[in-house]
């Protein structure tokens, strides 16, 4: 059964087409990632699926309920962890959880026990009765996730769950989420613009670009769909464009892109292509600092399917969604 179905979602904000026919589906029990740069349409997708906003066109179902016509049923079946926290910083961790339970229609001993369980699960039992203002970034984020889980939802939405966390807290959050997915029998949809995060956490993912899903599959499938290997040449000086032209002329090479002094390309067979590339560069007197070869990463997948480099896209993006 599909826990989330999105079909041809469209949404326009004044002059920005945030969603342009976005479709994907998530099976029950799956951890699914929406991957893409800022402004790609990930947050808007989450807002539609969590009933915060309505699509201009298209259809979406969450936990078997239509997000527009059965919004209240959807709201009872989901947990939502917004991008910038959402906790009441002036209340204690326990008070935050209790209130969330109350508005989800829970009460009494059952709610108290559930809150205590979540506090322990997220390592917040000692801090439970302290005001959230004094929590660390990681603790606050764990409480956020706890808030989304109070009523035992079927589907949990995490919008950029680790943005703004230091590397240590991020790694801890990854571990927590992995445990949750296994033990709470949840369907999790998370958005991220960290390729590593999508790789580490999700069973399947969709790459979103300009309001559309460009490709959907497991990280391995996506990487596997790119044949051959990635070759990255680091140049000694700045003549990147000249070097790119030279490398493009080499027969075996595809998808050449530049990034600072780095020259990325994909080749069918690295062992054969690298000497040819180096010889061609040497022939033009272009000095090379280093050469590395690797199996395709999600970076390469992103570049392949969108024709754009992930990092430069991320810097150029933004605006649209927030």
């Amino acid at each position: 059964m599909d826990a989330i179905v999105a079909e041809g979602l469209e949404k326009r904000y004044q002059d920005v087409q945030a969603l342009a026919g976005l479709s994907f589906s998530v099976r029950a029990g799956e951890v699914f990632g929406l991957l893409g740069p800022n402004g790609a349409g990930k947050s808007t997708t989450v807002k539609v699926l969590t009933t915060l906003t309505t699509p201009d066109r298209g259809r979406a179902e969450v936990a078997g309920h239509n997000v527009v016509r059965e919004a209240d049923a959807v709201r009872r079946s989901i947990g939502y962890v917004p991008q910038s926290s959402g906790v009441d910083r002036d209340a204690t961790g326990r008070e935050n959880l209790m209130l969330q339970g109350h508005v989800q229609g829970m009460s009494g001993a059952k709610l108290k026990a559930r809150v205590q369980h979540l506090l322990e699960l997220f390592g917040l039992a000692d801090a439970a009765d302290r005001v959230v203002r004094g929590y660390s970034g990681g603790m606050k984020r764990r409480l956020d996730v706890g808030l989304g889980l109070v009523h035992g939802p079927q589907v949990l939405f995490l919008d950029e769950p680790t943005t703004g966390l230091d590397p240590e807290a991020r790694a801890a959050m990854w571990d927590e989420l992995a445990v949750l997915a296994r033990e709470e029998l949840l369907t999790i949809l998370l958005t991220t613009h960290y390729l590593e995060e999508a790789d580490a956490l999700t069973h399947r993912l969709a790459i979103v670009s300009r309001g559309r899903v460009v490709v959907e599959g497991t990280a391995e499938e996506l990487k596997g769909s790119l044949e051959g290997e990635a070759v990255v040449v680091e140049l000694a000086d700045g003549a990147v464009e000249d070097a790119a032209a030279v490398v493009r002329a080499v027969a075996e090479v595809r998808e050449v892109s530049t990034d600072g002094r780095l020259l990325r390309s994909r080749v069918a067979n690295g062992a054969r292509a690298v000497p040819t590339i180096l010889a061609a560069l040497d022939g033009r007197g272009i000095a090379v600092e280093s050469v590395t070869m690797h199996r395709p990463s999600l970076d390469d997948v992103y570049l392949h399917y969108t024709g754009r480099d992930f990092r430069s896209e991320d810097e150029a993006g933004g605006g649209g969604e927030e």
């Binding site: 009441d88 910083r89 008070e95 209130l99 508005v103 229609g105």
Partner: protein
Amino acid sequence: MRAAAVHTWFMVGRQARNLMREPIWIVLLLVQPMIWLLLYGQLFKRVTHLPGGGFGTTSYIEFLAPAIVIMNAFFGATWSGMAMVSDLDRDVIPRFLATPVSRVSLVVSQIVRSALTALIQGIVILLVSLALGVRVHAGVLGWVVVLLAAMLMNSAFAGISQGLALLTRKEATMIAIANFIGLPLFFLSSTLISFRQMPHWMRELGKFNPVNWGVVAAREVVLPGADWGSVGLHLALLAALTVATAGFATWTFRVYQRQL
């Protein structure tokens, strides 16, 4: 409807807990009205003897005290939207919107919290006034009227403040608007001086000033010989205004939701 009431109860509970956690704020917010009451009350105590009068008493502090309760409720209300701005900034509101929580309760609870603050502060100001020799001539019913007027005064303008918070979502804009409308309404009321001492045009303008409605209602019951018809009329005007501004706040909440 029932859900709206239950959820409002929980949301007010949240606000009240946060407020009580730092009760120092209630005290700090009382410093300003106390300064008005104690300093201004002493400085101008002779104004009741001005020719033309219109004060209804010879004790300036008795004339001033109920108006200070109203003034405090009014100025408190103009800040009430700040809590909403902070909830919007921190995504607290979007988090609640993804739950079945009653949408109305998210706005109404802010107004109720604001009115409760005005109530507590009103009681404190009245108690201090008693210590200064003020007498509430209408007795217990008088207390009820003064505090009710304060709560309605506060709710009416809290509704506007919440609406502005939802439309502008910026603290700086809120402060600018609060100052822009706050001081003129205050000085165009009979808070500090009787209407009969004011220029004719101010008197006429003052009739349409909601701050003045609150001041008149509260002052009638503190001074001897209350005109209950006037009290009822002014309370009813405030109640109507409260309903209207709460409607405005709810409408702006829908505008905000549409922008999500």
